[in-house]
Amino acid sequence: MPELRYFEAVQRALAEEMARDERVFILGEDVGLVGGTFRATEGLMAEFGARRVRDTPIAEAAIIGVAIGAAMTGLRPVAELMTLNFGIVAMDQIINHASKARYMFGGQVNLPMVIRAAAGGGTQKGAQHSHSIESWFVNAPGLRVALPSTPYDLKGLLKTAIRCEDPVLFIEHEMLYNSKGEVPDEEYLLPFGVADVKRPGRDVTIVAWSKMVHEALKAAEALAHEGIEAEVIDPRTLNPLDMDTILASVLRTRRAVIAEEGWRKVGVGAEISSQIQEALFYELEAPVQRVAAADVPTPYASNLEKLALPDAQRIVDAVLKITL
């Protein structure tokens, strides 16, 4: 099976869907001529023209607003926010408009739109360019949220997102863009709300998404040397969230660790942990553990940044705390 890098999987998914459906178009900052800051839209303007690969001004709120209006009137926009940090400028359009429109208008209109954005820290980009704020968006009903961890998942999930009739926030991790993985040439779609077991295990369940899946897999490898078999579950989408797979796993392992790159306080981990204890309180051998970012703005200095962001070692420590 051919190998693709994560950013190439974005290109492939977009190209396939644009070729398949005339209504799909791309808009965003530097998506056209430049081909995207992370090369994710490279070559698409040459293939599909400036009409369908549309460079925009630096005006994030209007980019999302325009996507909403286009989605309401027959097109299927894929808006790129360059990075999710800039998405904060567009929060009103994303939360107050995109996520609510269908419900508050009594189901009269669908918003088949995708918002793509790069996120995550670990590259010394400082406090305003190192966000993992998926919890903010998962908190809002009406918005689908996907966070692929591999090129394979990315392509299949992005194609599903583009065909979805609901607004989808598609969060790509900056540090994964150059990662490689097998991606078949033939068409495939991955459903939302179906978790993927990235590594089976019997002793503890580690739930992780986006880049933290790779940290969790490293942790599982290290734990295996200690005789602890960790199961790593990647929900792949946080809305919808496949709690069934997570709960079935925890029911077997009786121990759970949630690993996320976002801030710990009121994070997605808090939600998943809460759901686990509500469903399986009497089955648990130990309290559910959360591994997350320190509750500080991401610092620039490399040693402090490393302290702030969770990693494989932190996951190992959390697992050892509840298995020894």
């Binding site: 178009f25 009409r51 369908r52 925009t56 001004p57 005006a59 709120a61 209007a62 980019i63 999302i64 607003g65 325009v66 996507a67 909403i68 209006g69 286009a70 989605a71 309401m72 009137t73 027959g74 097109l75 926009p77 009103d92 359009q93 107050n96 408009h97 429109a101 269908r102 419900y103 508050m104 208008f105 009594g106 189901g107 009269q108 209109v109 669908n110 009903p141 009406g142 689908r144 599903t160 997102a161 979805c164 009739e165 609901d166 989808v168 779609l189 991955l190 459903p191 939302f192 709300g193 179906v194 989408t237 919808p240 496949d242």
Partner: protein
């Protein structure tokens, strides 16, 4: 340009209906049938009536939280609108939207929005959609004087002109953003001239004169439809009531309000039509009686309509589960 007698009569009927509708809303609000924020349009009838009457039925209209009149101008049945205000399942948005969120997909009414300026980029998106689908349908994008100081106003104007889209921005300048006088909130008060900064033609019209509004809008709609790009019209008008039902409007002087009431658009058109011999007194009385009966019927219908079933709580949020 002269406006056909039949059109004048239609606009008169519409303005009388809007006023009576809003009076009925005020009564129902006082009686506890309507809750939340309710923004009345009394005094401003000539703007929506004149402007929307210049559109084709399949052009788009998008508005603000003061949107009752715009939906009536699109011919959404008063019953469906009143039922929405009463929070009933027979409402245009099944009782889920309320006063600020009238939306009527079948009549190309793209909604009312509660965040000042929030609709502006969405309207631009609808215009981009028409442009990309090679249709010459235009978008009439309403906003108030207060919105002209919002960031998205400038973002929306910039994009509309950049892509030369068919958007008619209609500013309903009633001189007050809730209680703040436009002269104390906008560094530059000639709102129509703000368009010039984006190379967009800006016009001003007496928003208390429905014939003047209609005539100006016919010209602007034609210009935009024929590829002239976006235009901005500032219609100067006055709301007789407070900003919403909970605002007594004490920040305005009695003398100022009286001055504007003397310019009332309804008697103005009545007088003009009497002079032109289009109607007689009896006809005017008949039109008023029709409006009274229509609103009475709408209120009875709304009151008799069922509230949404509890099961409706989770309906209309998502179209599908994205493959799950």
């Amino acid at each position: 340009m002269t406006i056909a007698a039949a059109d004048q009569l239609t606009m008169y009927r519409k303005m009388v209906l809007i006023r009576r509708f809003e009076e009925g809303v005020a009564e129902a609000y006082a009686d506890g049938f309507i809750g939340g924020f309710t923004h009345l349009y009394i005094g401003q009838e000539a703007v929506a009536t004149g402007a929307i009457s210049a559109l084709n039925h399949d052009d788009y209209v998008i508005g603000t939280y003061r949107v009752h009149a715009h939906a009536l101008c699109r011919d959404t049945p008063p019953r469906a609108l009143m039922a929405e205000l009463y929070g009933r399942s027979t409402g245009i948005c099944k009782g889920k939207g309320g006063s600020m969120h009238f939306f009527d997909a079948s009549r190309y009414m793209l909604g009312g929005y509660g965040i000042v300026g929030g609709n502006l980029p969405i309207g631009v998106g609808a215009a981009l959609s028409m442009h990309m689908q090679q249709q010459d349908r235009v978008v009439m994008n309403f906003f108030g004087d207060g919105a002209s100081n919002q960031g998205v106003f400038h973002e929306a104007l910039n994009m509309a002109k950049l892509w030369n889209l068919g958007v008619i921005f209609v500013c309903e300048n009633n001189f007050y953003g809730i209680g703040t006088d436009v002269r104390t909130s906008s560094a530059f008060n000639e709102i129509h001239k703000k368009a010039q900064g984006y190379g967009i033609p800006g016009h001003v019209v007496n928003g208390m004169d429905v014939l003047a509004v209609r005539e100006k809008c016919e010209e602007l709609v034609k210009f935009s439809r024929q590829g002239g790009g976006p235009v901005l019209l500032e219609a100067r008008c006055y709301r007789y009531q407070g900003h919403s039902m909970t605002d007594a409007g004490k920040y305005r002087s009695v003398a100022e309000a009286e001055l504007w009431r003397k310019r009332d658009p309804i008697p103005r058109l009545a007088k003009s039509m009497l002079e032109q011999g289009i109607v007689d007194r009896a006809k005017l009385d008949e039109i008023q009686a029709e409006a009274n009966a229509t609103v009475e019927d709408a209120m009875r219908y709304a009151e008799a309509s069922p509230r949404p079933a509890p099961g409706a709580l989770y309906e209309d949020l998502y179209v599908e589960n994205c493959g799950a």
